[in-house]
Amino acid sequence: MLSQPFMQHALLAGTAVAILSGIVGYFVVLRGQVFAGDALSHVAYAGALAALAAGLDLRFGLFAATVGVGIVLGLLGGRGVADDVVIGTTFAWVLGLGVFFLALFTTRHAAGDSTASVNVLFGSIFGISAGAATAAAVIAAGLVAVVLLMARPLLFASLDPAVAAARGVPVRVLGPLFLGVVGASAAEASQVVGALLLFGLLAAPPAAAQRLTGRPWVALALSAGLATVSVWAGLVLAYEFPTLPPSFTILAVSTGVYAVVALAPSVRGTGRRLRRYG
């Protein structure tokens, strides 16, 4: 299995992106910013297809759109969050724009069919080239370094922004900077599981990690570990059962891990109660 080049590329990119998503996702969940991930997944689609329609590299549009919108969201973040109706309507329109760019792309390139759209939405990890895999790994390593550098102040600012600000933590800079990193992570994760399935790597592993431990640094490592395990197990499953798309198997593993972690305590509790009264 490991001798296949496409599998090597998938493992390289998948591992790097999983570690990045696990670490960034931990802070996303801790800061209650999951909605931003939702927003970025819509923007990622529109951005990627806009770049394709303009004849640029898909990843250029992906990163430009998600990082830009992430920073803008961070700058707006201080002034109250818009209500769900405004958010929902706006992002439905952003997706609509993505469909428009898709139509532009497919009409201009006679050969270009709608696979590009499906790849952006649902990922195509087995189709990733050596160059793209290396680029994804290098970018992921850089982003992990950035997050780890700001991890301490970010943790402080996430848990108690007022006290952190009073102690001289630059809260106003950290927020937009972090959402910019989230944007870049969303673009990275889109290449692995697709824009629509970001939460499989960005939300499920950290939510599971938070249930397992209350200690932040342990949870951070655990989140990255669970995300990596999900990607590895997903890739192996997809390799063994070629009918299953890799994005589905990765999502199935990460969702399953969370479900087990979330349901285990109540099952254990029931067992204990049964033993006590039985």
Binding site: L30, S114, F199, A252
Partner: protein, 289 residues
């Protein structure tokens, strides 16, 4: 006969209705728009638009799975959406407060469930060995391929949903505006809320078949949100919401027919345009008043 737009409106409409697929699309679109406009109005008042979005996403694996198994696609949409509505209704009330502004793990779980539903849909489409363009149509809607049977299904479901809505509209509105007082006056708030979620499931399933799974907000939320910004009176609001939804659908389908760009783009753009206009109107009225 080449399709092209002219200044003669009558000729344009005759062109629009020349093909049976377009007539079916317009019939289905009109039915769906009326239902989505009316039910969406209550959904926006009750702040349950996130539930509507989730239900539509749950419908996607339903439809993809039905196609894979060779069952009617509409059956998949309606079955999964209504089942999903019953599950959401059974969850404890605090668990389904709006998670968009929500905190921490709860929104993470909802995001994960939504992503997993979409992944299951992807799996079913892949297993079906269908063309990938079918996936795009499910997600973003299409004006081609709505059958006469589908129109009948939509009509029956729509009429039933509107009939139930008419019965529960008054207690529903009461329970929405002030749940505690309504409960004290003998309204069965929980039951009414659950019934409404099922209606919402029906509306989301119907809307998905026209706008696609990912763009239901265009008909389910935007017209209602526009109406709420223009009038505070419930009856006028419902009527306005329905009218806007129908106009958006007709414009979207009509323009999609004459242009190379798909219905998903046009419907969301017109809906968003109306929404922005209403927002501007509201801001002006507030400043003046």
């Amino acid at each position: 006969m080449a399709v092209h737009l002219s200044w003669d409106l009558g000729w344009d409409v005759r062109q629009l209705l020349a093909f049976p697929f377009m007539v079916n699309a317009l019939r289905a679109g009109t039915i769906v728009a009326v239902v989505a406009g009316a039910i969406g109005y209550f959904m926006v008042l009750r702040r349950e638009s996130f539930a509507g979005h989730t239900l539509a996403l749950i419908g996607f694996p339903g439809a993809a799975g039905a196609t894979w198994l060779g069952i009617n696609e509409s059956a998949g949409f309606f079955g999964f959406c209504v089942a999903g509505a019953l599950v959401i209704a059974a969850l404890p009330a605090q668990g389904r407060a709006n998670p968009l502004g929500g905190y921490g793990e709860r929104s993470a779980v909802i995001g994960t469930v939504q992503a997993f539903a979409l992944a299951c849909g992807l799996l079913f489409v892949t297993l079906y060995h269908g063309l990938l363009s079918g996936l795009n149509d499910l997600l973003f809607g299409t004006i081609i391929g709505i059958t006469s049977r589908q129109v009948v299904t939509l009509l029956v479901a729509g009429v039933a949903a509107l009939a139930v809505l008419a019965v529960i509209a008054r207690p529903l509105l009461f329970a929405t505006v002030d749940a505690d007082v309504a409960r004290a006056r003998g309204v069965r708030v929980r039951l009414v809320g659950a019934a409404f979620l099922v209606l919402l499931g029906v509306a989301a399933a119907g809307t998905s078949q026209v706008t696609g799974t990912l763009l239901v907000f265009a008909l389910l939320v935007a017209p209602a949100a526009t109406a709420v910004r223009i009038t505070a009176r419930p009856v006028a609001g419902v009527v306005l919401s329905v009218v806007i939804a129908v106009v958006v659908t007709w414009l979207g389908e009509g323009v999609a027919y004459f242009s190379p760009y798909p219905i998903g783009f046009w419907v969301t753009t017109f809906a968003f345009g109306f929404f922005l206009l209403a927002g501007g109107y509201r801001a002006l009225a507030d400043r003046r008043g």
